[in-house]
Symmetry: C2
Subunit: 365 residues, 2 copies
């Protein structure tokens, strides 16, 4: 079943369902994105350590990557991005890009000076310079970045904020979502709404009703996996993901482990992003079909086998754990490349396998 | 003219000469090395930031790389290298490798405890642990590393050491060269002698006579470009390089800038290594046909052109100076990769062009 999305050129094709899990294709002007999909995070216009060619090639074959509005706004800044003609040209990436709104980073990285109904004034985590983000400014930055999928600017209160604060943030996020929806975007730029509400299921559903009324191209669950117990995350996922409109893509922001992705897909999520595969790689943690490999471990010192004998990535086909451990210990740049290539391959294959299972065992939509 | 070298499987083919400059091919069991050649430095079993595939592919197409005996002996250490079956297998590099003897690093990086006629006792620059290198130990380590070209263990006194000290070091280097020559090597492992003597031409020629008597597969000039004025380096090169036996390859150790390479080739040198292209790349200095580019420079902020429009490397074909500057400023790993790929391409093309000129304008040998 093919569903046109509000933004011209975008449509969502539902191919099969298995329980709440779905397999589909998000069609965009810059290319098709088979879902469920894992989106590698390219914070500063680069998925750390990787070239665009490596991301595009098998076995990663990333159909979409993320860019971070907050980071790119601070560095290289809007003048450079505008001059370069947007993030695709700047980073030589011709497939779709999703940009977040900057909200999460403002609330987690920057020093907040003031939050009011209009927006947020904050100081840069790099040089302390003062900046202001509003829904209109966030959409404008994302317009300049030229992302294919924009996200609404939302307020992200701490999970342990008092009840009244949570409600205030929720109301503000809805008001800001309306302003984001009304702000001008470029052609080929879709916009997703974000459902907040913490780990209170009723509040989530109430906010979802407000957000889904606004006719976004897709819907995201924000504010999950931000410190709450994983059982709480899973409970909320099970309660709310399948209630999100079935004819639009559903995106779980900033999640998570391979197990989290599987749970999210079972709950009905279509899109994921997380720094875990890339950051863990650089920190020495490598994913495998079996146990996670901690590469600095002395056990790898003389191990001439690959990280994962079942993995088709060039790191596993070419290099031993002993070599990778040596590069890690010697702080060699090559380590980060080889490790990131492997972990992104693991995530890509993991999600593709789950998608194949839905297609094979599910009901044709 | 084809000259067999003392080690079975090795021969040196002289194709053409142009003044003192020579174009040839060093034939080795692991492959042919067209000379003059620039050898990228792979200190710790990796040319920093590069994969073996990138080094082997056009436009770099490195026919031989270096490994550093001192560094690899300390990390990952001989047990790992022996277990892995040598550096080629460990680093997945199937073309020739030249290893230095560790001498230069012991005298420049380590804390020396004692130098005597037998060898050198020193403390590791990493953890202060105590070690001892002798000619026999150096050759043994290089045997374990499995390099195709080994270097003799030599004493490298400071350039400003007193006369008596220089003479003592020279005599020791000759004595150690004899011991290196006598030490057991593996099949397919050749050995180069090193001519020292600082910037005193007569002393250089006297030492050359001692070293060239020992029937090495090739000869190196050591202890140049170690702090003396560049005119002194060039003067010594002009005085001694062409006197080295013509039927064996000549190697100028640790040199240098693109201009130095050109001068060395004119003087009759066949082989070069230097960290300059790789280290400069990481530090923001990029070589071009015109002026050297200092990538952090604000002038590159909005420059959408490549580092060098005449360069065929994928960095120049894909990315702008503005993007590279952004990656550099943001300390992104990808910067080091892209910059190193470019600088190594520049060096490879530079030397290949000089070789082509000798073949085109020179006299058939």
């Amino acid at each position: 079943m093919l569903f046109d999305l509000p933004t011209p050129g975008f449509s969502f094709e539902l191919l099969a369902t298995l329980g709440n899990a779905r397999a589909g294709i998000l069609h965009t002007p810059r290319g098709d994105i088979p879902t469920p999909v894992f989106m590698p995070v390219g914070t500063l216009g680069t998925v750390k350590g990787m070239t665009a060619d490596e991301l595009r090639a098998e076995p990663i074959d990333a159909k979409i990557i993320l860019g971070n509005t907050y980071h790119l706004y601070l560095r290289p800044g809007l003048e450079v991005m505008e001059h370069a003609g947007g993030l695709h040209k700047f980073a030589a990436w011709d497939r779709p890009i999703l940009t977040d709104s900057g909200g999460f980073q403002v609330f987690s990285l920057a020093a907040i000076n003031e939050i009011d109904d209009d927006g947020v004034t904050f100081r840069s985590h790099i040089d302390g310079s003062k900046h202001r983000l509003t829904p209109e400014v966030s959409i404008h930055i994302q317009k300049v970045l030229g992302s294919d999928i924009m996200m609404c600017f939302d307020e992200c209160p701490p999970g342990d904020a008092p009840e009244a604060k949570q409600e205030e943030a929720l109301a503000r996020t809805t008001a800001w979502a309306k302003r984001c929806r009304a702000a001008p975007r470029g052609p080929g730029q879709s916009l997703f709404g974000i459902v907040q509400g913490g780990i209170d299921g009723a509040r989530r559903l109430r906010h979802m009703a407000e957000i889904t009324k606004l006719d976004f191209d897709g819907h995201a669950l924000g504010g999950l996996a931000v410190g709450e117990k994983i059982e709480e995350t899973y409970r909320i996922l099970d309660e709310v993901a399948h209630v999100l409109p079935a004819e639009r893509p559903r995106y779980l922001m900033g999640v998570g482990t391979p197990a989290d992705l599987e749970r999210g897909i079972q709950a009905g999520i279509d899109m994921f992003d997380c720094v875990m595969p890339t950051r863990n790689a650089r920190n020495g943690y490598l994913f495998t079909e079996g146990q996670r490999v901690n590469i600095p471990n002395a056990a790898n010192r003389l191990d001439l086998g690959p990280i994962d004998p079942t993995c088709p990535c060039s790191t596993c086909r070419t290099h031993s754990r002993a070599y990778l451990r040596h590069l890690y210990v010697a702080k060699e740049i090559l380590y980060a490349r080889l490790a990131t290539l492997h972990n992104l391959t693991f995530y890509a294959r993991h999600v593709r396998r789950l998608r194949e299972r839905i297609l094979a065992e599910g009901t044709r939509a």
